[in-house]
Symmetry: C2
Subunit: 151 residues, 2 copies
């Protein structure tokens, strides 16, 4: 097995610091074999897991959520393919929602902030159908809080 990676190699290849990789391992996000001298040796497939982790983080997914997703994977052998389909579907919805949010953000930029008037005094005239422009008494935002205990 000349394919095993040291932590330094995985770090270099993934762009993630060794300390972060150890941290991920403690959280159960990735795993490593050990040499006789207790040093970590990574299967090359871990590189893919790390890539997945980093990308998910970039779009605002917490390590805990990522672990949940990763936990439901081939820990044993047979992947119970239907469970994964459900997992995949759940994530798909979340990701689609993220895309919706980003698009909304971008539209805000272009439509209102982009024109220099965040104050809405004039923008509301220009964006009659805008959801966010609805600032009278009524429904409110339902965007979940990323850093709240019981959010």
């Amino acid at each position: 097995m000349q394919e095993a990676l040291t932590i330094g190699q995985l770090a270099a290849r993934s762009g993630v610091a060794p300390s972060a990789l150890r941290y991920y391992e403690r959280l159960g996000l990735i795993r490593a074999d050990r040499t006789g001298g207790n040093q970590r040796r990574y299967h090359r497939s871990e590189l893919r897991r790390v890539a997945f982790i980093r990308i998910a983080q970039q779009v605002g997914v917490s390590l805990d959520e990522i672990r949940s997703a990763l936990d439901s994977l081939p820990a044993s052998r047979t992947p119970t393919a239907e469970d994964w389909a459900q997992l995949s579907t759940a994530w798909r919805e979340g990701l689609t929602e993220k895309i919706r949010l980003i698009t909304r953000l971008r539209d805000d930029l272009d439509g209102c902030i982009g024109c220099g008037c965040l104050s809405l005094r004039r923008c509301s005239l220009y964006n009659p159908g805008d959801q966010l422009a609805n600032e009278g008494p009524g429904p409110r935002l339902t965007v979940p809080h990323p850093h709240r205990p019981s959010g």
Copy 2:
């Protein structure tokens, strides 16, 4: 001016805790007028700013980046519309990149993780053109780290 909002009202309407709103103010993300008795009174347009902040956070943008964007806005009067156009463009690129990442993530889920084999032993056969499957010696990830000092 019956349109001014108390902090409690803004909190209720935006779904953001009063403590968070004060925190945002300290960071210069939002602003408030004061009553004679020193209490905050928010213009209704702040609701839109808060919405913007929350949405941006959801997709992994830091408060500091958000402030930078918001700072370049009608602090004085004339918005120097061309500067905003540049700002808007810069954000557009970042957001487009986020969408790319999310799509990649979703494809990973559907194409490889979704099938239950994150190990790539079989997936690489099914995804010959996959960028992330390139795990031999060569180029590596360039996804920036969200929580690193000099990332």
